[in-house]
Amino acid sequence: MFFHIVLERNMQLHPRFFGRNLRENLVSKLMKDVEGTCSGRHGFVVAITGIESIGKGLIRDGTGFVTFPVKYQCVVFRPFKGEILEAVVTLVNKMGFFAEAGPVQIFVSKHLIPDDMEFQAGDMPNYTTSDGSVKIQKECEVRLKIIGTRVDATEIFCVGTIKDDFLGVINDPAAA
């Protein structure tokens, strides 16, 4: 799920950047620093949409670096248990398949794939229904439900299921 929230961060800036463009420098550094990071609480920071406020800088003893408390608005993406997501399949193996929804990696175990879908090994490993009408392979898009998440320092890993109504392949570029 996406959220638009306000976060705060203390930015350290080298005195070299002081001057007319201080603010721009600060913001560009903030973007570099924050966008794409992941935290357990908020999930992935997708983009910074605006700066709420920049506090007074505090000179650090001994270094000349200045710390600015910056409040910024950003869009974060955090997957939740029970959430329905659309994701692109990145890898298929006998244990299930991996899919990605933006920065989030989701694993769908074969136990969580409808029973009528069988694993077909080969050049392009896939899961196919017995009548061959539905095929899950690399690059195809699936709708899935997240049943569990695990948050690391740098990534969020989810386990999903397609064994439910209205879940499964929604678009297969290979077939099209």
Binding site: K29, K32, C38, G62, T63, T90, L112, G148, R150, T154
Partner: protein, 1038 residues
């Protein structure tokens, strides 16, 4: 009132014993005469013997029924005497008599068993009936039953009263006191304990009252000893005099009063052995095998179990044919289901019989019963273990294979948990009821109270909390839960539940991304992410190891006592399962290799595989050995993410395609440091040897306090002091101190107190920096002279372009395959802002001089003019042996990447040293020729804001030196940091102390100076050595 009935039974059995006394005594005599044979009969006789003995007590009890309760001692004695019989005689009613006898005693007379007769009565009632049936069937002994009834009537009243009397307080009163007879421990022959007890009893009967002992106890579990109850030791001695199995003049030990109760306390191990329980065999061919209970005979203490037969049909056939069977069994036949047809083919007679009790058909082969391929075997209760059976999946699957009657995949699964370990439910656990009326009720554990677990459920109308027996509960998980396995084969692993199949969970392991099947009972919910066991012996997961067949590989998985190793075969992934002993050693070499375009690949560099089976994979290099790279690609799911590839089929990500260019630059860098600023000693460049070991850059630096380029910008972790554990990039290096930018601020720490940041995922930039700084090492392995020229050229241009640029390129390159956060960290690094911090102050040329090896910070002796002399060989060895002050930061791993990245300048000298015999790796060690501060040497003290002063080091302790001011140390004593000290170079004919190298610690006399070398006559052996002046300090006699 089954309870009372039972007790009545007890008594009546006693009396049965009495009535049959004579008859059985005769029997006993007979049996003895006969010696062996007639086992059960004899047993019975003997047991009734005991009973009749005990019964005397009962008679007494009868007599003074009224003051019964106060006769604790006596009663206890009776109990003791009877006790041994309980476990000895398992057979028939004799056994039963004893057993219940015992219970009776426990109940009423003594409190040796505190919770006597808890909830057993019902079961016992059942046993009894069974037993009676058994009796009547077997012996047609109707008399006994009649007798039983009669006596039961007679004594029922008595026992009711008796039961009521035994309150807790009275039980307390029954504890033995000082006035009661004591218990003595008497040593006897092993295995003769019972015999001795019986003999003593006989003796008592024969001799009557003049034998003043009260009782004799032989315990089953206590070998070599019997207990005798008597008032005095003399009485015991008297009683045991002349006993065959009691050694004369054996010490008789008194059992302390407090321990007396323990002697006869019996742990009530009421084993709940019911049908379908999983058990393990304890002895015999089937030892350790899993078995399923199909029938329990509590009376005879026997169970019928279902096993997978281990039968060698050939041997069986020949045996049944009466042929000779070789006695010695070379092996235990593997478990295999009995195939009746196969047996018939071998002409084994197979009888098909119907069991009269159950109506099932069994195949009978040579006395063994088979059904559905299983062997049905009746064994003693003692030969099976019931506790902690924990069958594995394999075993269970085997058991389930042949049935295939749709009974459910793990038919007896709920029984799996019947005898599990205690206390494995914890508050907050989600549980589900698996047995009884409340089956499938889910709830949460509120409290665990012995056997009962209080659970809270969402179901309305149920008491809250609800008490449920532990055995009826099983842990409950839902798909998506993150769990940790706490027991069983996968102990330690964590993962996410993907499927719940009754009591079996399928978990997606966090490490291997594979499915793991575990029992719900073996896991707990946990947010922890672990890899499971990661270490066996010295070897850890992801270590590079050398195997005994000289192949090598990376440990990608640990199994029970074995490793899965991805072999270093680039053509195809080859995984071998190796045992601990098959591993020769861990390979911890730090080698750099070249990729396809001659870029240098070091450990931690990101590379992409451009050909071969793993083409397209990309990731950091974890190990390098023999030109084979082990790359870790986190998107690669097999082999724990490891890919094995030849170095020539990879390219460094962000590396230049024109390798020569980079190398040239690197080489230039390496050399630049040394030759460029060399006003003082051009000689050393012809010398060889020493340059490899000793860092020239540092030596010829203009002044102290220079920076160390190699450290600058690297992310380090502080390992000592108040900032211990902090990480941050180095922003400045000054002498012994480095300035480290922590998350929040820049601090100054001792240089020794930092270590290179190794392998924390988000902070990969280290590798990129070290890549840059390691580059110069490389030329040392290739013919060097070609580089000499470009090097000088590059020296003329700002050197940093030579080495810094590509490095930075790579570090900030957007296409480096990093997770966003890694980028982020690097960006947060001040070094990333267009230029590295070290460029900011000062002029570029001088910066080059400020790139000493770490060691040079210490060894610097400005103003000292050194002369060149000496044999390279000497120095080579000296350097190689001297410990480096930096190594302590990476104990035991001199080859770790970190130590190498400290020493980028070192190899600068190496190109000039062909033929020194130093191998490729020596530059790393080369830094060892460090000057150490030692006591009794003259130093210059430069305290900030103070004039420099000379002083004598008196003491050196972890990082600080105690220095006495004055050239002879006569002044005040102050504390100084090594960074504030500088060794005063000795002059000719000074007394010197050698502060580095092989002879460190020795004193001597400087008899001459040759360039930068000093000729030293060492005091100890009067040897004349040529040593580097830098490691010589002026010695001041304390």
């Amino acid at each position: 009132m089954p309870r009372n009935r039972d007790e009545d039974d007890d008594v009546d059995e006693d009396y049965e014993g009495l009535d049959l006394e004579e008859e059985e005594e005769e029997e006993e005599e007979e049996d003895r005469g006969r010696g062996g044979g007639g086992g059960s009969r004899r047993k019975r006789g003997r047991s009734s013997f005991i009973d009749d003995y005990a019964e005397e007590d009962s008679q007494e009890e009868d007599d003074d029924d009224e003051d019964y309760g106060s006769r604790g001692g006596k009663g206890g004695g009776a109990g003791k005497r009877k006790k041994p019989s309980a476990s000895i005689f398992l057979d028939r009613e004799a056994h039963q008599v004893d057993d219940e006898d015992e219970e009776e005693e426990e109940d009423g007379e003594d409190d040796f068993i505190v919770d006597a007769g808890t909830d057993l009565p019902d079961e016992r009632g059942g046993d009894r009936r069974y037993d009676r049936r058994f009796l009547s069937r077997d012996e047609n002994d109707e008399d006994v039953e009649a007798l039983e009834r009669r006596i039961q009537e007679r004594f029922s009243r008595h026992h009711e009263e008796y039961d009521e009397e035994a309150t807790d307080v009275e039980q307390q009163a029954l504890l033995p006191s000082v006035r009661d007879p004591k218990l003595w421990m008497v040593k006897c022959a092993i295995g003769r304990e019972r015999e001795v007890a019986v003999c003593l009893m006989q003796k008592f009967i024969d001799r009557g009252a003049d034998l003043q002992i009260k009782s004799v106890v032989a315990l089953d579990h206590l070998k070599n000893y019997i207990y005798v109850e008597a008032d005095k030791e003399a009485h015991v001695k008297e009683a045991i005099k002349g006993m065959r199995n009691i050694y004369a003049n054996q010490k008789i030990l008194l059992v302390p009063i407090r321990e007396m109760t323990d002697v006869l306390s019996v742990e009530s191990k009421a084993i709940d052995l019911s049908r379908d329980t999983w058990v393990r065999m304890k002895i015999g061919t089937y030892k350790g095998d899993l078995a399923k209970v199909v029938d329990v005979d509590n009376v005879r203490q026997r169970v019928t179990v279902k096993l997978i037969p281990r039968i060698d049909l050939q041997a069986l056939a020949s045996k049944l044919d009466g042929r000779e069977v070789s006695k010695k069994k070379a092996f235990v036949p593997p478990p295999r289901f009995m195939n009746i047809d196969e047996a018939r083919e071998l002409h084994i007679r197979v009888e098909r019989r119907r069991d009269p009790m159950t109506g099932d058909y069994f195949e009978n082969i040579g006395g063994m019963l088979f059904k559905d391929g299983f062997l049905y075997k009746t064994v003693s209760l003692k030969s099976i273990t019931v506790q902690n059976v924990t069958p594995t999946f394999d075993e269970l699957e085997k058991f389930n294979k042949p049935s295939e009657n749709g009974e459910g995949d793990f038919g007896g699964l709920s029984t799996l948990f019947a005898n599990r370990k205690k206390g494995h439910f914890m508050k907050g656990d989600a549980v589900i009821v698996i047995k009884g009326d409340l089956k499938n009720l889910k709830g949460w554990v509120e409290k665990v109270d012995e056997e009962n677990v209080l659970i809270r459920s969402e179901m309305k109308g149920l008491p809250d909390p609800l008490a449920v027996n532990e055995r009826e509960l099983c842990k409950y998980f839902e798909p998506g839960n993150h769990v940790k396995v706490v027991s069983g084969t996968h102990e330690g692993a964590t993962g996410m539940v993907v499927k719940v199949d009754q009591h079996v969970l399928i978990i997606l392991s966090d490490t291997t991304k594979e499915h793991v099947r575990v029992f719900a009972d073996h896991v707990v919910e946990s947010s922890e992410v672990t890899t499971g066991v990661t270490k066996i012996g010295d070897y850890e997961l992801h270590d590079l190891v050398l195997l005994d067949n000289l192949s090598f590989g990376v440990i990608i998985r640990l199994e029970n006592e074995a490793f899965q190793v991805l072999k270093g075969v680039p053509d195809r992934p080859e995984v071998a399962l190796v045992k601990l002993r098959e591993i020769k050693c861990k390979i911890e070499k730090k080698i750099n290799v070249q990729d396809r375009y001659k870029n240098v690949i070091a450990v931690k560099d990101d590379v992409r595989v451009i050909e071969g089976p793993s083409k397209g994979k990309q990731g950091p290099v974890k190990h390098i050995y023999k030109g084979v790279l082990f790359i870790y690609d986190r998107h690669h799911l097999e082999h724990a993410g490891f890919i094995c590839a030849k170095c020539t089929s990879c390219i460094v990500v962000g590396g230049s395609r024109s390798g020569a260019n980079r190398n040239g630059g690197g080489g230039g860098y390496g050399n630049f440091k040394a030759p460029a600023p060399v006003p003082s000693s051009p000689g050393r460049f012809q010398r060889g040897g020493r340059g490899g070991g000793y860092n020239s850059g540092g030596r010829h630096r203009g002044g102290r306090g220079g920076g160390d380029d190699s450290l600058l910008g690297t992310t380090v972790k502080i390992r000592l002091g108040p900032f211990k554990g902090y990480r941050g990039p180095v922003v400045e290096v000054k002498g012994n101190s480095v300035r480290v930018e922590l998350e929040m601020k820049i601090v100054t720490v001792d240089r020794d107190a930092i270590s290179d940041n190794v392998a924390t995922t988000p902070f990969r930039d280290t590798s990129r920096y070290s890549m840059g700084s390691e580059t110069p090492m490389h030329p040392s392995r290739t013919p060097l002279h070609p580089y000499m020229t470009p090097m000088r050229d590059s020296g003329a241009t700002p050197i940093h372009d030579g080495m810094r640029t590509p490095m930075r390129d790579r570090a900030w390159n957007p296409y480096t395959p990093m997770s966003p956060s890694r980028d982020n960290w690097e960006d947060g690094n001040p070094g990333s802002w267009g230029t590295s911090p070290q460029y900011q102050p000062g002029s570029p040329p001088s910066r080059a001089y400020e790139a000493p090896t770490p060691g040079s910070g210490w060894a610097s002796t400005p103003g000292g003019s050194y002369s060149d002399a000496g044999t390279p060989r000497d120095h080579g060895s000296a350097y190689a042996n001297a410990p480096s002050p930096y190594l302590p930061s990476t104990p035991g791993q001199p080859m770790t990447p970190s130590s190498a990245s400290y020493l980028p300048g070192t190899p600068g000298g190496q190109p000039m040293t062909p033929g020194t015999g130093l191998d490729v790796m020596s530059p790393v060690i080369g830094g060892d020729a460090e000057a150490w501060f030692m006591p009794d040497i003259l130093v210059d003290i430069h305290k900030a804001g103070e004039d420099s002063d000379v002083g004598v080091i008196r003491d050196v302790s972890d990082g600080t030196c105690k220095v006495s001011l004055g050239s002879n140390g006569e002044g005040d004593t102050i504390m100084a940091l090594p960074s504030e000290l500088e060794i005063v170079p000795p002059r000719k004919s000074d007394r010197v102390k050698i502060v580095g190298g092989q002879f460190r610690g020795s004193t001597g006399k400087l008899i001459g100076i040759d360039g930068s070398d000093g000729i030293v006559k060492i005091d100890d052996n009067l040897d004349v050595k040529i040593l580097d002046l830098a490691i010589l300090a002026k010695f001041v006699q304390p």
